[in-house]
């Protein structure tokens, strides 16, 4: 089965999606590194960098702009950059991106400052539901429009549900666009009624629950946003179409346990439903089976004892393999289920390595699996 290179080489953008704690950041960085080693100019966008990984990439003072990883660090790991391969990385700052977006869409400086200085905006622009996800897409769009890179790899923000990412533009636009704002800002809308201290049943009930002050602040906030609706809408639309463009592909990253596998299956069906391009799945921390049958502990212990001459140790060794095999069988079953659900789309298994990955050398270790064919992977993981 395919190497990850064949899944991403014809694309401009690869989006690594998956739930939290499955190794998305590491996988994204490894893919970017691997493609840079193949002569491409690659940028990886991450929101959640492991400190040591960031350090090892020389990224400690990174802001919201892409910076280049020193080629010497790559060469030190035997990566040839003479064919023009470059690795860039950036850490996404959702609030800064949001501010820049407000500045772009504001009619004038006064309108911009009215939003930026609004207390509600200041409190929520970083924490707004879907804003991190949307801002990641926004930055992706910006970098893609630049055309500076051959390939962009996006490590999606950590969320419980991978689907949050796909929903982000919809949720954000639900907030800034159309009906919800109209309710506030049309001449007879809530803002006007609050401002004129209107009565009406609903309004008075609302006041009772929310309080007049907060209602007034909220309507001021929505009103301040109103001048930007068209700009935001148009932009969100274009960002949305970039996601479904065939130059963009999604890679699902997951773990081998039941819950992440179920989520990967569900996410895949949503991708197909929304007509996005699905490249394949990467399953991290897989325990490959080290044999084809379940070890018979007593019998195996006796065979080990013959070689080690220590019955107690031999018994522990046999038990340990049996425990390992329970998890390996689980992984195998779950991955079979995933493969079936993906209708033959590629599933790449990265083994549970003996050590944590937090530097370029570790990424290279992972790439021995990501950028290999299935036969090589199995060979390497089991012998």
């Amino acid at each position: 089965m395919a190497s990850v290179a064949s899944l991403v080489e014809d694309r401009d953008i690869v989006i690594c999606a998956g739930s939290g704690g499955v190794g998305k950041t590491t996988t994204s960085a490894a893919i970017a590194l691997g493609m840079a080693a193949r002569g491409l100019k690659v940028c990886v966008l991450t929101i959640d960098p492991a400190k040591r990984l960031a350090d090892s990439l020389g990224l400690e003072e990174l802001g919201n702009e892409a910076s280049k990883v020193d080629p010497k660090l790559l060469e030190a790991q035997g990566i040839d950059t003479s064919e023009g391969g470059e690795l860039w990385a950036m850490m996404l700052d959702a609030k800064e991106t949001f501010d820049a977006l407000v500045a772009r869409h504001a009619e004038d400086e006064e309108a911009r400052d009215r939003v930026l200085n609004n207390r509600i905006y200041q409190q929520i622009s970083g924490a707004l539901a879907g804003s991190q996800e949307y801002m990641a897409m926004e930055k992706l769009f910006e970098l893609h429009s630049d055309g500076r890179f051959d390939l962009l790899v996006l490590d999606t923000p950590p969320s419980r549900n991978a689907l949050d990412f796909l929903d982000a533009p919809a949720r954000l636009t639900q907030f800034i666009e159309g009906k919800s704002l109209q309710i506030f800002i049309k001449p007879t809308g809530l803002a006007a009624r609050v401002a004129s201290r209107g009565t009406g049943v609903v309004l008075s009930v609302l006041k009772r629950i929310v309080g007049f002050d907060l209602l007034a602040d909220l309507s001021e906030f929505f009103t301040a946003f109103s001048g930007m609706i068209d700009g935001f809408q148009d932009r969100a639309h274009r960002v949305g179409s970039l996601l479904s463009d065939e130059r963009t592909s999604f890679l699902i990253v997951c773990g081998p346990q039941g819950e992440p596998i179920d989520e990967a299956v569900f996410f895949h069906s949503k991708l197909v439903e929304s007509q996005m391009v699905f490249a394949g799945a990467v399953v991290n921390r897989v325990r490959y089976r080290l044999g084809t049958r379940q070890p018979k502990v007593g019998d195996l212990a006796r065979r080990i004892e013959k070689e080690l001459d220590d019955a107690e140790l031999a018994a522990r060794l046999a038990r340990n393999l049996a425990e390992y095999d329970v998890l390996a069988v689980r992984d195998q079953k779950n991955i079979e289920k995933l493969t079936e659900a993906l209708n033959g789309e590629p599933v790449i298994r990265v083994p549970y390595l003996d050590t944590d990955v937090h530097d370029i050398a570790g990424l290279c270790e992972i790439n021995k699996y990501l950028f290999a064919d299935e036969e090589t992977r199995v060979e390497r993981a089991t012998t």
């Binding site: 929520i124 969320s159 919800s180 309710i183 425990e323 390992y324």
Partner: protein, 328 residues
């Protein structure tokens, strides 16, 4: 109150627990948030803590905070919804749905069902509710607060000694716990302001409320745990009572045994070679995990305890019950 399954007989172990009845003192609090990076096993640990507290005779409820339709397996296996469901003697569970919490909250404010329904039918309210950032989190915390009251606000509400919350993952978790303060400051006066202050007061009351951070013996989770602890303590002002290092491999093989095991590489028997390989990987991982455990101990203020790795295909209620006894 609506449906609840009956307590499963024999769900809680009938025998006395192992560590001489030593009870972690944080179980004496009224409200406990279980938090940590995604994928560290928060839900399992939250459930294990709940089972343990129930074993100690505390009437306990474990809450899942589900902002998405994607409820955790553990909770869906137990068929828990937005109703207090009895899992065992003294052990209850609920999955807090923000929309339901909002309906309940508004009804408590307005007192009249017809008025609430009128409000929920109005487009103005629907849009305001959908558009106001952080509102879901606020009403969710409001429901948690309500569950923790001895004088419950909902009709026929049960009194709980302990409310355990399976909180959202780091990042989302911090902003989740910050919501009351944010709202208290946005709404300078009025009902939302005073209620937000009330929630904030409960969260920051170190006698009543605390957090347990779940971590894994790996580089990134350890770093994140240390950062999370300082954010919880200084930014939120909530007490961090315990850090639990979850899924620690057993230290099965000594260094000299590892040397001996190395010989198995040359065995002609593939299964013996496999046993050797599995043991060497295990030993390497276990050693690396102990380094991370030491790193964690050096990096955090709170006491660190450990839970063993469970060699089972799925972490179900049975696994949580096993872990409950290991909490010390």
């Amino acid at each position: 109150m609506g449906r609840y399954s009956h307590a499963t007989p024999g769900f809680l172990p009938g025998h006395p627990i192992r560590n001489n009845g030593f009870i972690p003192d944080f179980l004496d609090k009224r409200l406990l948030f279980v938090t940590g990076k995604g994928g560290v096993g928060k839900t399992t640990v939250a459930m294990a803590l709940g089972i343990r507290a129930a074993m100690e005779g505390k009437r306990t409820i474990v809450c899942e905070v589900s902002a998405t339709e994607n409820a955790s397996r553990l909770f869906s296996q137990a068929e828990v919804g937005f109703r207090e469901v009895e899992l065992a003697n003294d052990l209850w569970a609920i999955s807090i749905d923000p929309e339901e919490s909002m309906r309940e909250y508004v009804l408590l404010q307005l007192k009249v069902k017809a008025m609430r329904d009128m409000l929920f039918r109005s487009r103005m309210f629907t849009y305001l509710a959908a558009a106001t950032p952080g509102l879901n989190e606020l009403v969710t915390i409001g429901k948690i607060w309500e569950l923790a009251q001895l004088d419950r606000k909902v009709k026929h509400g049960r009194k709980y000694d302990l409310v355990i919350v399976d909180a959202p993952a780091t990042g989302h978790g911090i902003s989740f716990l910050q919501t009351p303060r944010t709202f208290a400051s946005i709404a300078r006066v009025g009902p939302i302001h005073s209620q937000a202050l009330q929630l904030e007061a409960l969260i920051t009351d170190h006698d009543q409320t605390g957090t347990v951070i779940v971590s894994l013996p790996e580089e990134m989770p350890v770093n994140e745990t240390s950062r999370l602890e300082s954010e919880l303590t200084s930014d939120i002002g909530i007490a961090v009572d315990r850090v639990i290092m979850n899924a620690l491999y057993p230290d099965s093989f000594t260094k000299s045994e590892v040397k001996t095991i190395g010989k198995l590489k040359k065995s002609d028997d593939p299964e013996v070679r496999a046993a050797g390989r599995a043991a060497l990987s295990q030993a390497k991982r276990a050693a690396a995990q102990r380094e991370q455990l030491e790193r964690l101990r050096g990096m955090v203020e709170a006491e660190v305890s450990t839970l063993p790795y469970v060699f089972k295909p799925e972490l179900d209620l049975k696994a949580a019950r096993f872990l409950a006894e290991e909490i010390g």
